[in-house]
């Protein structure tokens, strides 16, 4: 039984540690905020210029001056601070954010990441993704293990234009968890009822197994 999106988000939340400053990407990564373990205090950074992001607002608390990097209305906390985009990316580029959780189109076995453009299609832009993967200490990818047509997304080499080179430290997909370091990729956890053979079939990348 492969993991659902919520399962993946819950698993990603286990990478959080007390006191971490974290940036969550748009989409499934945003869900991770719902699964922060008890007893752990984590501060969410939003790259448009906010540290200490709160939950979505109640209808009557909506404030057009208060949005996250996905342009969603949000709220502030007691600990919140605001700053400019230059200061925000100084924080990111300078290595002050412990963890970033992002989506991906493709990941290569050496940690290369492609998640911003498909040649021939309209390109919307990379936003802050290139800065995040270049600057944040640890980059965790949450993605469906395969594309809708069944093709592999975890590859020997990315075929799409890259967002960053050797930047991914961990992949959490519906089949399990991989770590990536200078030695290559390693499958370290399996979703329930998923076998190593099944993962190998659905993956192009080389990986070791250390369950």
């Amino acid at each position: 039984m492969a993991w659902t999106r919520e399962d993946m988000a819950r698993r990603a939340a286990l990478e959080l540690q007390d006191g971490f400053y974290v940036n969550l990407g748009i989409g499934i990564p945003t869900l991770v905020a719902n699964f922060i373990p008890d007893g752990i205090s984590v501060t969410l950074q939003s790259e448009n210029g906010m540290l200490g992001m709160g939950p979505f607002p109640y209808e009557e608390d909506i404030d057009p001056d208060l949005i996250n990097a996905g342009k969603q209305t949000i709220t502030e906390l007691d600990s919140t601070s605001y700053f400019s985009s230059a200061d925000s990316f100084g924080m990111i580029r300078g290595g002050h954010i412990a963890l970033s959780i992002l989506g991906a189109m493709q990941v290569a076995e050496n940690g290369d990441l492609a998640n911003w453009m498909i040649p021939g299609k309209m390109v919307k832009g990379m936003g802050g993704a290139m800065d995040l993967v270049a600057g944040v200490k640890k980059v965790v990818i949450i993605m469906d293990h395969n594309a809708r047509d069944g093709s592999a997304k975890f590859l020997k080499e990315c075929t799409l234009p890259l967002t960053g080179v050797r930047v991914v430290d961990m992949i959490i997909s519906d089949v399990g968890v991989f770590t990536i370091d200078d030695e290559g990729a390693t499958l370290v956890e399996l979703a329930p009822d998923v076998t190593v053979e099944e993962v190998q079939e659905r993956t192009e990348a080389n990986f070791k197994v250390a369950l």
Partner: protein, 234 residues
């Protein structure tokens, strides 16, 4: 040297010209200089190079200048919200230069601070770094990015005084402070234009030296792109 002007049209009088480079503050539709964009549209200025993180939506923000074909080129990090943008770009009617958002923010800060170039790790090994100079520092490779300046910067703040000192509010700050410094001429619109002395000197985000003209915004819409709420009980 009176900086306050009665409205956006008068505040842009004499500083616009065809082929100019404009910076416009905002992230998405948050913290954009609504009045000044409308006045720029009304001016009919053509062949604008617009430096702005986003391109607005079809009928709001910089989208208003795309409708009228006043923009020749955009320098942005993300333009996904705008259909007219997509159409003009695919028809090759519009030039586009993508910058990683942090690189763009830093290029604007650098432009305002007299830094013509800086090195960053962002984008190394990607399309963005192709054709740019690279340099190693302590065994890691970085790419050279250049400072950006504009003929005119249009910024939006929350409060401002008659000397041009500005204070921003929440995430509406975003690109506005750097753009104020990187404009050869900077025009600000504020929700509250106050007398000198009403702003706490320790809290001023943009010192008045960077602002040549200032107006009080009228009829702000402050449109929300993604109205996301929770309901009681959640």
């Amino acid at each position: 040297m009176k900086k306050p002007y009665p409205d956006a049209v008068s505040a842009l009088d004499g500083v616009l010209f065809d082929g100019m480079t404009i910076m416009a503050g905002g992230f998405g539709l948050c913290g954009i200089p609504e009045n000044l964009i409308t006045a720029l549209r009304g001016s009919g200025t053509q062949n604008i190079t617009a430096i702005s993180n986003n391109a607005g939506v079809d009928d709001f923000g910089l989208g208003l200048l795309l409708q009228t074909r006043q923009i020749k080129k955009m320098i942005s990090s993300y333009v996904g919200e705008n259909k007219e943008f997509e159409r003009q770009y695919l028809a090759q009617e519009l030039e586009l230069e993508f910058n990683p958002q942090g690189t763009m923010a830093e290029r604007i800060r650098a432009g305002g601070a007299g830094i013509p170039g800086f090195y960053t790790k962002t984008g190394v090994g990607t399309l963005i770094a192709e054709g740019k100079e690279h340099k190693d520092f302590d065994g890691d490779t970085y790419v050279l990015e250049t400072g950006l300046v504009a003929d005119v910067s249009l910024v939006k703040a929350w409060k401002g005084d008659r000397e041009g000192n500005l204070i921003y509010r929440k995430t509406a700050r975003n690109f506005n402070p750097m753009m104020a410094t990187a404009g050869k001429f900077t025009v600000a619109e504020v929700e509250e234009l106050v007398e000198v002395g009403e702003l706490d000197p320790d809290q001023i985000h943009t010192p008045g030296i960077f602002v040549q003209r200032i107006i009080q915004s009228k009829d702000l819409e402050k449109r929300i792109e993604q109205r996301t709420i929770r309901t009681r009980g959640e």
